[in-house]
C-alpha cells in the first residue's frame, strides 16, 4: 500500500428531492482511497452505498443533488471537471464500475464481447481486432473461455455475466475499480468462486478497489480498510484488522453479532432489532439512536461528529471513550433485545 491517496473525498452529501421531502441519502462522508488498496464499504440495504458511488461517477438520477467540499482524483478536482472531459478521461479509463445489478447491466441486444470492445474503443484508439484480443485476454483472467465473447448476454448464466462485467471493468487498467455488491443475486457457491477470482485479481493488478457489500464477513478478508455506513453516514472507519479486533461503534458491534464470523466460531448470531432510518428531512440526532442499546440523552438531539481513536480509525459516537465496556455488553443478546 502506498501512502498517496488516489481518491480523496471530503464532506460529501447527496439528497434526493422527492414529493415527500428531501431524502438525505448520503451525509458528511469523508474518506481516502490509497493506491493499490481495497477499501470496503459495508452497510445495510438502503444506507446509501450505491448513491455514494453514483455521486462519484455523476450517475445520480436528475432528482439527486450532490454537494461536497473535495472530490479529488489523482490530483484532478472532479467537482469542477467539465462533463465531457470527465466522460472521456475519467470514466472507465480511470474509474470503472462493476454495478450492483451486474446481471442486468449487459445490453441484451449486443454480444458480450462487443460491449467490452465498445468500452475499450471509447477510450483508446485501436482496431476492433486489437480490442478483441484484449477481450480474449480479459476473459482468460476472469475464467471465461475466449470463444464465449460472441455470445449474447442471455446465453450466459448469472455467474458468467458477473465475470464478464469484471472483465469489462479491468479492460483499461483503471486506477480505481468500484465493485458495488459484486456477488448479490448469485447463489452461494458461485459467490464464493467469484470472490476467489476477485481476490486473485486484486493481487495481480495495480488498481485500487472500492468494494461495497452488506455482508461484513465478505469484506473482512478482502479489504485493507473498511468503512461501516449507516443512515447515509460513515459510522466507523478503520483498518480491517482494527475494525475486527477492536470495533468501537455500537452499530459495528451489532453488525458483527449478526454475521457468522470465522474468528469466533460458535458465537451466537444476534440481529439488531428495528429498521434502518427513513432519511427524510434534516438529521438532528445520531441516525442509529432509535436502535442503539447504548443511547444517552444527547444522542437524540445532536449528531455525533467523527472522533479519532487511533491513526486511521475514527467513529461517530458520543460514547467512543467507553468502547471497551460497550463491546463486552454487546456480546449479550439481552443487551440488544430487551432494554428497548
Amino acid at each position: 500500500m502506498t501512502t498517496k491517496a488516489v481518491l480523496e473525498v471530503r464532506d460529501l452529501n447527496v439528497r434526493y428531492n422527492t414529493s415527500a421531502g428531501p431524502i438525505h441519502a448520503v451525509s458528511e462522508v469523508s474518506f481516502d482511497v490509497f493506491g493499490d488498496e481495497v477499501f470496503g464499504i459495508a452497510g445495510e440495504s438502503g444506507c446509501g452505498k450505491s448513491t455514494l458511488i453514483r455521486a462519484l461517477l455523476r450517475l445520480l438520477s436528475p432528482n439527486g443533488i450532490c454537494e461536497s467540499a473535495v472530490i479529488s482524483f489523482k490530483g484532478h478536482d472532479l467537482r469542477t471537471m467539465p462533463d465531457r472531459e470527465f466522460r472521456k478521461d475519467i470514466l472507465w479509463r480511470e474509474i470503472s464500475l462493476v454495478p450492483q445489478s451486474a446481471m442486468n447491466s449487459l445490453n441484451p441486444v449486443y454480444r458480450v464481447g462487443a460491449q467490452i470492445v465498445e468500452a475499450i474503443r471509447a477510450h483508446r484508439r485501436c482496431t476492433r481486432a486489437t480490442a478483441r484480443e484484449r477481450v480474449a485476454e480479459l476473459f482468460d483472467v476472469v475464467g471465461l473461455q475466449a470463444d464465449l465473447m460472441d455470445s449474447y448476454p442471455h446465453e450466459f448464466s448469472g455467474g458468467m455475466r458477473q465475470r464478464a462485467m469484471i472483465a469489462m471493468a479491468l479492460a483499461l487498467d483503471p486506477a480505481l475499480i468500484i465493485m458495488d455488491e459484486p456477488t448479490t443475486g448469485l447463489d452461494v457457491l458461485v459467490q464464493e468462486r467469484i470472490l476467489r477470482r476477485i481476490r486473485k485479481i486484486r493481487d495481480a493488478i495495480a488498481s485500487s478497489i472500492i468494494l461495497i457489500t452488506h455482508d461484513i464477513a465478505v469484506i473482512a478478508e478482502m479489504c485493507d480498510r473498511i468503512a461501516v455506513m449507516y443512515g447515509g453516514r460513515f459510522m466507523e472507519q478503520a483498518r480491517s484488522l482494527d475494525l475486527f479486533e477492536s470495533p468501537h461503534h455500537p452499530y459495528t458491534l451489532g453488525l458483527k453479532n449478526a454475521f457468522p464470523s470465522i474468528h469466533a466460531v460458535g458465537a451466537e448470531l444476534i440481529s439488531i432489532p428495528g429498521f434502518p432510518p427513513g432519511l427524510i428531512g434534516p438529521q438532528t440526532s445520531c441516525p442509529f439512536e432509535p436502535r442503539c442499546p447504548f443511547r444517552i440523552e444527547r444522542c437524540a438531539t445532536e449528531t455525533p461528529q467523527p472522533v479519532t481513536i487511533t491513526e486511521q480509525h475514527e467513529i461517530r459516537c458520543f460514547r467512543s471513550a467507553e468502547a471497551e465496556s460497550l463491546r463486552e455488553l454487546a456480546k449479550s443478546k439481552a443487551t440488544w433485545h430487551c432494554s428497548n
Binding site: 450517475l59 470514466l91 472507465w92 454495478p99 445490453n107
Partner: protein, 328 residues
C-alpha cells in the same frame, strides 16, 4: 432464427387461408344479387342460364368453394363485371399504387414518430415533449378526410402549391414503375396524401417510442453505458433506442392493419388510383369479382407486412432464438 421464420411463414399461410374462406362466405351473403349487374332479367331465359353457368353460379356451394380456392391459387381471379378486364390485371396496376402511397405514409409515420419519440424521451418534459404529445393526439383525433380536406383547400385550391389529386399529370400515363418514379408530377401529388396519412397515424409510434425509451432509460444497462463514458448520443441511440425499437416494431405490424382504413379514405379523397379507391368503386357498382379481389389483395398486403415485421423483430432481438426452440 430460421426455425422461427419458418414457423411464422406457416402461421401466415394459415391466416391467408382463413381470410380467403371468410371472404368467400361474406361475398355470398352480401345483399344485392351480383348476377343482376351483368345478367339483365330482361334477357332470354336460356342466355341467363348459360351466363350463370359460365360464371359457375349454379354449382353447389362446396364445389364453388373448391373451385374458388383453386382459382385463387392459380391466380384465376375472374373478370370484372363492369369492364370485363381480368381482375388480376386491374389489381396488378392498383397494388403498386397503393403500396407506394402506403410505404410513403408509413415511412413518414415511423421515421418521424420514432425520431420524435426518442427526442421527447431524451428531453423529457421539455417543450418538444409537451407540444409533440398534444399535436400528435390532435392529429389522431382528427379524421383523415378532414386533415386531407384542409390540406387540399389551403395548399391546393388557395395557394396552388400542390395538385389537387391523381397520381400523375393527366395525359401522361407513365410507362411502368420506374417511369412513374421519375415523374416530378408524381412526387408533387404524393405529398399531400402522405402527410394526411402520416399525421393521422404518427401519435401511436411516437408515444409508444417515447414510453419505451423512458422505460429503457431506467435500465441497468443504460447506467452502465453511461459509466463506460460513452457519449450521450451513443447511449441514447445505440443502447436505448435500439432496445426501445422492439416495442414499436411489434406495433408496426398492427398499425399496418389500421393503415388500410385510412388508405381507403385518403385514396378516395385524393383520387389516388389504388386499391382503396377501387374497393369503394367496386363495392358501389356491385362489381363482385373486383371487390373480392381487392379485399383479398389488401388482406395479403397486411398479412405479408405483418410477416415482415416478425422477421424484422427476430433480427432486432437476439433473444428470439430461444423462444423459437422453446415453447412456441
Amino acid at each position: 432464427m430460421f426455425d422461427y421464420i419458418l414457423r411464422r411463414l406457416g402461421y401466415t399461410l394459415i391466416t391467408l387461408f382463413a381470410v380467403a374462406t371468410i371472404l368467400f362466405v361474406i361475398f355470398r351473403m352480401l345483399p344485392g344479387d351480383p348476377t343482376l349487374q351483368v345478367i339483365s332479367p330482361a334477357m332470354d331465359e336460356a342466355v341467363q342460364t348459360r351466363m350463370k353457368e359460365a360464371f359457375g353460379l349454379n354449382d353447389p356451394m362446396w364445389k364453388q368453394y373448391l373451385i374458388y380456392l383453386k382459382n385463387l391459387v392459380t391466380l384465376e381471379w375472374g373478370r370484372s363485371f363492369v369492364s370485363a378486364q381480368r381482375v388480376t390485371d386491374i389489381l396488378a396496376y392498383r397494388f403498386w399504387n397503393t403500396l407506394l402511397l402506403m410505404a410513403a405514409g408509413m415511412c413518414l409515420t415511423l421515421v418521424l414518430g420514432i425520431g420524435m419519440g426518442i427526442v421527447m424521451a431524451w428531453r423529457r418534459n421539455g417543450p418538444l415533449d409537451v407540444c409533440g404529445t398534444v399535436v400528435g393526439l390532435v392529429f389522431q383525433a382528427t379524421p383523415p378526410f378532414i386533415t386531407g380536406l384542409l390540406l387540399l383547400i389551403v395548399l391546393s385550391y388557395r395557394l396552388g402549391i400542390f395538385p389537387t389529386g391523381g397520381m400523375y399529370p393527366a395525359g401522361q400515363r407513365p410507362d411502368g414503375l420506374i417511369d412513374l418514379l421519375l415523374m416530378p408530377g408524381f412526387w408533387q401529388r404524393i405529398v399531400l396524401p402522405t402527410i394526411t396519412v402520416g399525421a393521422y397515424y404518427i401519435a401511436t409510434p411516437m408515444l409508444i417510442m417515447r414510453d419505451s425509451m423512458l422505460e429503457v432509460l431506467g435500465s441497468d444497462f443504460i447506467e452502465l453505458a453511461k459509466a463506460k463514458g460513452l457519449a450521450p448520443s451513443t447511449v441514447m441511440f445505440r443502447h436505448a433506442a435500439r432496445n426501445a425499437l422492439l416495442g414499436v416494431v411489434t406495433l408496426a405490424g398492427i398499425m399496418v392493419g389500421f393503415a388500410v382504413g385510412g388508405q381507403v379514405v385518403v385514396e378516395s379523397l385524393f383520387s389516388w388510383p389504388g386499391m382503396g379507391q377501387l374497393m369503394v368503386e367496386s363495392a358501389a357498382s356491385h362489381d363482385y369479382p373486383v371487390a373480392q379481389g381487392t379485399f383479398l389483395m389488401l388482406a395479403i398486403l397486411v398479412i405479408g407486412l405483418n410477416f415482415l415485421t416478425d422477421v424484422a423483430y427476430s433480427y432486432l432481438d437476439p433473444r428470439i432464438k430461444i423462444s423459437a426452440t422453446g415453447i412456441g
